[in-house]
Symmetry: C2
Subunit: 406 residues, 2 copies
């Protein structure tokens, strides 16, 4: 039996994790935290998924190496500078790991390091070196502080935690995330740090995470850009006391369900907080011949600038949805496609068998003017389905990105 419910505490909800975040001086605005630390009492099984961009941030290179043995114990992260496309990038990322060693003895190679912010500007280690002691002293149940310190143009910190049963023990998964622009399939400029006290082998942990992101973070798109620094890491310290998960079965299923609850919730939070967004758009595709087809169609719709702009204007321009389905690269049959828009105000069927249905424009405006809008597509070809999340395209997106560096 799987029992699953949300709890407070973010990454500090699972046993044995402490977190904190401070302003150390990388960002000019002193009100904005820019330096985060998460530490486990004991070494953890570790797993990660990373950007597929061939231009990779130095922290990504170092973190991949550090978790290649399946073990890690801490996460250090700064915002305000991505430490990417700099000649000394790897050196600086390694120094960040060593700062953790300096304050608590955890080996540099057991540290997950991440950076987010502007690309191509050297990252000065000095503000972090000068403030690592203060950051370490601040550690506690401060998941919110860490969540704030990893934000860039995010407007709200993003955090979730759940409790569930596995192997007779009460277990927890907690997570924080940042990312609102350059969000796209393949984890673009998303940083996600997940903690759990479940006992699990690092092989099963990696398997769970790799499978999960395919239907969670990789189904989020804000603007189609893919970042150089995307990192999603999970640490499992085993302090819940469950029988260690080393293969599939009920316990693994319970853990995967808990993980999925957290990742889908964060995916929606990321999409809803998309740069300049006024609404969360969820595209649900069913009737596909394969999951791959369903996913590609859902992402194609969510990524369309014209669909996104229509959603901003609460314009039931379903032709743009059909158009985006048509260029998804999947062998759809236009004559079989049905589309409806849906929100708390009700359902608005707009297309059946590839042709338009009559609808009331006033009701359409009402349905589409809500903060969460679904675009539901039935391809009429099979039994597979998928969901993707995104947001509308607004004046503020352009404003935020028109002059990001200054």
């Amino acid at each position: 039996m799987i029992s699953l419910h949300e709890v407070s505490g973010g990454v500090c909800a699972p046993k044995g994790f402490k977190a904190g975040g401070i302003h150390c001086g990388i960002r000019k605005n002193k009100e904005k935290k820019d330096f985060a630390l998460i530490v486990s009492e004991v070494p953890c099984a570790a797993a990660g998924v990373f950007t597929q961009n061939l231009v990779k941030g130095a922290p990504v290179v170092v973190t991949k190496r550090n978790i290649s043995d399946g073990v890690a114990q801490a996460v250090i992260c700064n915002s305000g500078n991505a430490n990417t496309c700099n000649r000394d990038g790897e050196e600086v990322a390694l120094k960040m790991c060593s700062l953790v060693t300096d304050v608590c003895g955890i080996k540099p190679s057991d540290v997950i390091v991440a950076s987010t912010g502007v690309i191509g500007v050297p990252l000065d280690i000095a503000p972090m070196a000068q403030n690592i002691g203060r950051l370490y002293d601040s550690l506690g149940d401060d998941s919110d502080g860490a969540a704030e310190a990893i934000m860039t143009t995010d407007t709200v910190p993003k955090s979730v935690a759940v409790e569930f049963l596995a192997g007779g023990a009460v277990c927890r998964v907690g997570a924080i995330a940042k990312g609102v622009g350059m969000i796209c399939p393949n984890m673009a400029t998303t940083l996600i740090f997940i903690t759990t006290d479940v006992g699990i082998s690092h092989e099963m942990l990696q398997r769970a995470l790799s499978e999960d992101v395919k239907s969670s973070f990789n189904m989020v798109s804000i603007d189609g850009d893919q970042s150089t620094n995307d990192t999603c890491c999970i640490l499992a310290n085993g302090l819940a006391g469950n029988e260690k998960i080393v293969s599939s079965g009920a316990d693994f299923a319970a853990f995967r369900a808990a993980l999925r609850h957290c990742t889908v919730k964060l995916s929606k939070m990321i999409a809803r907080d998309g740069e300049g967004a006024t609404k969360l758009i969820e595209c649900n595709v069913r009737g596909a011949k394969s999951v791959k087809m369903a996913r590609n169609v859902a992402r194609s719709v969510i990524k369309s600038s014209l669909v996104k702009a229509a959603m901003f204007g609460s314009d039931a321009n379903w032709g743009r949805v059909l158009c985006a389905i048509g260029y998804s690269g999947e062998a759809v049959d236009a004559q079989k496609i049905a589309v409806e828009f849906r929100s708390v105000k009700g359902r608005l069927p707009v297309c059946r068998d590839g042709s338009g249905l009559e609808f009331d424009e006033a009701f359409a405006k009402e349905v589409l003017s809500q903060g969460e809008v679904e675009i539901n597509v039935d391809l009429g070809l099979g039994g597979c389905r998928a969901s993707a999340w995104g947001c509308d395209l607004t004046y503020d997106y352009v404003k935020i990105n028109g002059d990001y560096r200054t």
Copy 2:
């Protein structure tokens, strides 16, 4: 010897072509022409390239069928309604062809038909049937009238014509185009009608056109969306009197150069008139291992919403350029990439060997504030190159597309 220079007259510059455009009532605004006709005195060799979108407009289906025998003699086109995703779409497209027969006897199957505008709203044949006589009577040297009548959100009509020598005869190519949104590789919502008086077999005409669009219209991107109705057709009536081109050689090369002059010029005009655009962005990629690599990298940069927004803000955020190169799908080596911005104000090298170069921010603003900006990328891997054209992402793009239908 190839002699090539621009002339006036658009699609009416080549011998034996007449054109015109009127308002017939499909568009509500009576100031806006919405009905165009181009007619050749004699039957022409015909060729075309069309949208790759699996959701295809009815006119595309009919036109592909009509030119499958390599012959056509007229183009009929309306704006204000795409005649796409309608149950009676094909029937209406066929009726449009028959209207041409009614006024001048050209067989319906020798007519190229095109529609552009909103998707999913039935297209009423009545305003066209009532006004086809008036449109036919208006035919003359009115390439501009036709160019206006095919516009949707275009702000300027797009037209070009050149004169050149082939087979001892003076020949001409003329063209009109529309398209400012939903522009993307694979010909998205672009309508392009090209006329020429050169004598050429329809096989060689198709070969020239198919090759040409790969490095012209398919390298234009406004917003990454691909339309259901893209059509690029060419009619060659042979009235120039040159020895008919039936194989490669000097005459074919001369014709291809003339065609390319027209298509590249129209590509830039389309990009510059991108919805809401304030500037034309040209991305020139060199040092690629293959032309395919160069093209994919150039398109990836031109399509990046973040690069486009940075260009709007005249922000030399070259990290976004590297990021877009990194997710192009091509096996680039980040450590070998060089990037410079360039405009009439000068060159601004910003990245070498994948790392940033120091530059003066005031000079950067000056370079990037111009109406035409180049992003020049050297991949450092080989000898192939390509160019792509796009525009900046602005508040007005969002405004135009936030409520297109109303």
